[in-house]
Symmetry: C2
Subunit: 238 residues, 2 copies
DNA sequence: ATTTTAAAATGATTTTTGTCATGTTTTATT
DNA sequence: AATAAAACATGACAAAAATCATTTTAAAAT
């Protein structure tokens, strides 16, 4: 069930302040506020489906969204996890293509939908915004090149170690003996992130735990030994 | 040895007509012409190195360039092959990062170097160009997502079949019994394209030949049975 | 034309990873 | 609280792919 609530106007939105929309003009902000559509989403809900036509972009005010492609074998390859302050769907929209991936909620989320026309108006009228967006797209491309190279040239052990390090960078909070990855991901989702079978992830996580690189706390993972994971991940700067 | 020659002005450049620079204004074209730097490159030469700072963009007037990342195991993951009318290096330039990959000449090339300031001037002053570039970046991102998903979820046999189909799409010329892939790639380079070991590619190509899906003609590959390759590649629309 | 070097091919073997089957634990639902 | 359904775990095995060693062939270089 979709819940539409009274929402903060964009002008006051805190997550916006640290997003690509951070430096918009007063009129653009008002226009956004007037046309956006704020919706609360529960874990598991689907934001958009691969293969459908984008009608706008999503701004994450809070929560976590996984963006994945479904492979022909039925498995999910997670392209990225998107967080507060990030945008979704602009790439397919601006590429004038159908969604290349599906977006579903991983942690309960508050998300604003900005209709295509509203978004394009900002893009066309605010060149500085357009340039920020271009920069972000270019950096995303660099990240994807790196991911592709890792996927083909590194072992799954290395990739899992790297993934855990990245997760702890993004979601890390103090967790006593180490850094707690403060987001709930199933083994299947971690497998989708790394690009492998669930069983392989289960085995490797057990191995990492045995080697005291990580520990489990409920559904969350504690990173005990970053150096060890970095060594394992055959980290080369990326 | 770098050969600097007398070159066609951009206004007359045929490869430009089918590139992102196709609809530039007269003044912008003149400015490009005045500032570009035309260089002929021989097979094997390096255009730019991963990790170095981009100083401009490259426009391919003729030839083929492979863009690859070197993995920590020393192997090359080819990100893409770039052809006549395509641009190189703008992603790292606009992302304000060092080159994420290396570019080397695969087939003798004529390439214009456009200095950063000149390129940025066009980008800032011609919004329509900027939008075309954004669109291309977004589509490239979609392609990378697809490649990543293939890399993690498909077998090497499937990926090789897909790669051969794509190569014949781009480089295909009539070749008697089938379509000839009219570009010389070593087995090692095909391996870099697919993301696997050279020996694996050699074995699979032999298998494909035995199964009469392809044939060899000198250093080039003839695709005999596209349908068969498509079936093998487990094609899902991408 | 001969030597050197690089590329391609092939076999043997090991390692890695995926799959299937099954059991246990945890979480959600009635 | 009982039941059902996910999620997690583990073993056994099969398949895929990498590695290493060696040979053959083709292309460059002298």
């Amino acid at each position: 069930m979709i819940v539409r609530e009274k929402s903060t106007p964009c002008e006051m939105c805190l997550s916006r302040k640290f997003s690509m929309f951070s430096n918009l003009s007063e009129p653009h902000l008002c226009n956004l506020s007037d046309n956006k559509n704020f919706i609360s989403h529960k874990k598991g809900q689907i934001l958009f489906y691969e293969g459908t036509k984008p009608l706008g972009v999503f701004c994450i005010n809070d929560g976590v969204v996984k963006v994945f492609k479904t492979a022909s074998n039925g498995k999910e390859q997670i392209i990225r996890l998107a967080n507060k302050g990030e945008f979704l769907g602009y790439s397919s929209l601006l590429g004038e293509e159908v969604y290349s991936s599906t977006g579903t909620i991983v942690e309960d989320a508050k998300i604003c939908f900005v209709p295509k026309e509203t978004f394009l108006k900002v893009l066309v009228e605010d060149n500085s915004f357009h340039r920020r967006l271009t920069k972000a797209l270019c950096q995303d491309l660099g990240i994807m090149e790196h991911k592709l190279t890792d996927a083909t040239q590194k072992s799954i052990r290395e990739r899992l170690a790297f993934t855990l390090l990245k997760l702890s960078e993004t979601y890390g909070v103090d967790g006593g003996a180490g850094e707690k990855i403060d987001v709930v991901l199933t083994r299947e989702e971690i497998a989708g992130l790394v690009g492998t079978a669930t069983e392989t992830i289960i085995r490797l996580l057990s191995e990492f735990k045995k080697d005291e690189l990580i520990n489990f706390e409920g559904k969350k993972i504690i990173v005990l030994n970053k150096k060890g994971l970095a060594r394992l991940s055959d980290f080369y700067g990326g």
